[in-house]
């Protein structure tokens, strides 16, 4: 299996606002950069599902947005993101736009907000088709001039084929009566339905890589299992690789081929789910698993460090039960052995 996406030494930081601290927040100096992601390296092979798990604010969503290059222009992104051999960070905005939606797609965590409230579902589902076929038409137009009538006819035909494609996509995500739903608007539908619309829209052009950003957040248990089936079906039917970003460990365990655990902006452990869940190496992973319901809610003491001011040495050392002296001073590297990787001095 070939490597599809290779992220190397990704650093993402945001500039805190520099001036004007007179009004609020007198106590703290806000003149700082927030490093949301530091030295992150992951790779996804074809047809593989990689899960990125971590707690709120550890920077996992930022990774997704960095891959899609959806971060605001003010953010500073360093490193390389290689997709099919091309460095995405070096592409122009236009070239990137051609990839988005066609080769790489994303599912956001708030389906009801990600769909535009004033356009119908059908319109929005057909949009990727329209965007990515229109560009070719422009090229054609340069070559020869067509008669208006002919063009209209073609357009109509295109519209029709778009419609049938949309209804097929809707059927695939489990709507038995797609034509009816195409006239609906997002605000008329429940969150679960919108989620399925969103999946249909994002997979419309069979992307090679699908990024799911916290798809299970805020959903009921029933809906989560529905979503799980959806994604499983997607994996089986198509050639899509999946980057699954989630905080829900159970969900991840059932879906992922490999799991990367993030803590405070860096990856602390990468392993396949069964070995990760049965024999976690990094103390943070262990703590995280122990605080799960089925292991009796044993909490990790303390709280995650702020990304603007991470502790020196190992970022987990203030909360670590087995820390040594060097943990507080040196920063451990991600060590790889037998298909697993872990960022800890004390782990084999």
């Amino acid at each position: 299996m070939n490597t599809l996406l290779e992220v190397k030494d990704l650093n993402v930081s945001f500039q805190g606002n520099e001036n004007e601290n007179k009004t609020g927040n007198k106590s703290e100096n806000k003149n700082e950069t927030v490093t949301a992601v530091s030295c992150l390296s992951i790779s996804i092979r074809e047809k593989e599902t990689l899960a990125l798990v971590g707690e709120t604010g550890c920077g996992k969503s930022v990774v997704a947005h960095a891959i899609m290059r959806l971060l605001p222009p003010e953010s500073i992104v360093k490193g390389t993101i290689e997709f099919k051999g091309k460095n995405l960070l070096k592409l122009s905005e236009k070239e990137m736009a051609k990839l988005r939606g066609k080769e790489i797609s994303i599912i956001f965590q708030n389906p009801s907000l990600a769909l535009n409230p004033v356009y119908s579902i059908g319109h929005q589902l057909a949009e990727p088709l329209r965007i990515h076929t229109q560009k070719m038409r422009w090229k054609e137009k340069e070559g020869k001039k067509e008669k208006v009538k002919q063009k209209e006819k073609r357009e109509k035909k295109k519209e029709n084929s778009n419609l049938s494609k949309v209804s097929r996509a809707l059927k695939r995500v489990g709507f038995s009566n797609p034509r009816e739903y195409m006239g609906y608007y997002p605000s008329w539908c429940s969150g679960g339905m919108n989620q399925r619309f969103l999946i249909a829209a994002s997979t419309m052009l069979d992307p090679v890589l699908l990024i799911a950003d916290e798809p299970s957040k805020g959903l009921d248990r029933d809906r989560v299992s529905e979503l799980e089936n959806e994604l499983k079906g997607l994996k089986e039917k198509s050639e899509t690789s999946l980057l699954l970003i989630s905080h829900d460990l159970g969900f991840v365990r059932r879906l992922a081929d490999r799991v990367a655990v993030m803590y405070a902006g860096e990856i602390v452990e990468i392993a396949d789910p069964s070995s990760l869940f049965e024999s976690p190496l990094h103390p943070y992973t262990r703590g995280l698993l122990n605080s799960l319901p089925e292991r009796g809610f044993v909490p990790i003491p303390g709280a995650s460090p702020p990304l603007s001011n991470p502790p020196a040495g190992c970022r987990f050392h203030p909360r670590c039960p087995i820390k040594e002296k060097r943990c507080t001073q040196e920063r451990p590297e991600l060590k790889e052995s037998n298909g697993r990787a872990v960022r800890c001095f004390l782990c084999p």
Binding site: Q15, N17, E20, K30, H65, P72, S75, N110
Partner: protein, 328 residues
């Protein structure tokens, strides 16, 4: 009606969205929607708000200019005697062109225009602020009460507000002004009593939001009185909406005053900028091309209104920025 709507685009959008969803539905769906928006906001606060911050920075520059201008006009209004070379009622030779003695010349009855201008600041600004105070107070009360207590009271008050909103203000003021003897106090009262509805609306929609926030719910649960909750929990969170609205209400009242004075419905005994302009138009300053007569009051109105509006803008921008920082 004249102006307020124009400036606060953001708030209007938000408000109209809230207006459209009925309360019952919102209660049922609230938790999930709120949850969704919250999560989204969490993420946004991390990076996307930078954009808004930049936008806020631009406004801050406006704001500084506005503040400077406003202070200037405020000083004029507070101590006119310091700047005016003569008393505004002192008479000289009429229709004089600008000279060293009369920097802006004299008008038809021989008053020094510069002195008139300086003394006019106080009257124009007083009308603006006094009527804005009235309308803000009424709007705040109605909005708070209907947003906090909801139910029948809300329906009644908002129905009333809707009805008031539709009646065109300027024509009504014209009619009233024509029947009543023009007086500055009546003008203030009428302007104040007729322009509270947009403030009431925005306060209500904001109150409806804040009411559902955890801290208000817990305060109710802990047994704080509704009055205490409104004053100590809701009001402080409304200030940032109210201040710009207040500034814009002031700006709009000043323009209304100038417009009405132009129609001859102003108080002639208190010469505001609007009345000066109106006299310049009706008593030949315009036909004689005496730009030093009609231009200065007009420019003063525009600049003063603009300074106030810019400060209003500045408040909004800063608030947005602060919210961005807070969420971090």
């Amino acid at each position: 009606m004249m102006q307020e709507e124009a400036y606060i685009g953001e708030n209007t959008t938000q408000e109209s969205k809230i207006r459209k969803s009925t309360i019952q539905e919102s209660i049922i769906q609230e938790s999930t929607i709120q949850e969704n928006t919250r999560q989204w906001n969490d993420f946004r606060s991390l990076n996307l708000d930078l954009d808004i911050r930049k936008y806020g920075k631009n406004l801050k520059r406006f704001n500084r200019g506005g503040l400077f201008l406003f202070t200037f006009f405020l000083i004029l209004a507070l101590i006119p005697a310091l700047f005016a070379p003569y008393s505004p009622t002192e008479r000289f030779i009429p229709y004089e062109a600008p000279s060293t003695a009369h920097l802006l010349g004299t008008n038809d009855i021989g008053n020094d225009i510069l002195s008139e201008l300086v003394y006019g600041a106080r009257i124009s600004m007083m009308v603006g602020f006094a009527s804005a105070c009235i309308s803000t107070l009424i709007g705040l009360m109605i909005g708070l009460l209907s947003g906090y207590f909801r139910g029948t009271l809300d329906e009644l008050l908002m129905g009333f507000t809707d009805v008031v909103l539709i009646i065109p203000k300027i024509p009504l003021i014209i009619i009233l002004g024509a029947f009543l003897r023009p007086s500055i106090w009546i003008l203030i009262l009428v302007l104040g009593l007729l322009s509270w509805e947009s403030i009431a609306r925005i306060v209500r929609s904001k109150t409806l939001q804040i009411r559902e926030a955890g801290y208000v719910k817990s305060a109710r649960c802990m047994g704080f009185s509704p009055f205490h909750i409104m004053v100590s929990d809701i009001f402080p969170n409304l200030v940032h909406v109210l201040l710009p609205k207040f500034m814009l209400a002031t700006a709009s009242a000043m323009i209304s005053e100038a417009s009405l004075s132009f129609l001859g419905l102003g108080d002639i005994s208190m010469k505001s900028w609007g009345i000066m302009l109106s006299f310049a138009f009706s008593r030949g300053g315009f036909i004689r091309e005496m730009w030093w007569w009609y231009l200065p009051p007009g420019v003063c109105i525009t600049l003063c209104v603009m300074s106030i509006a810019l400060i209003g803008f500045g408040f909004e921008g800063r608030e947005k920025e602060k919210r961005g920082v807070d969420a971090e």
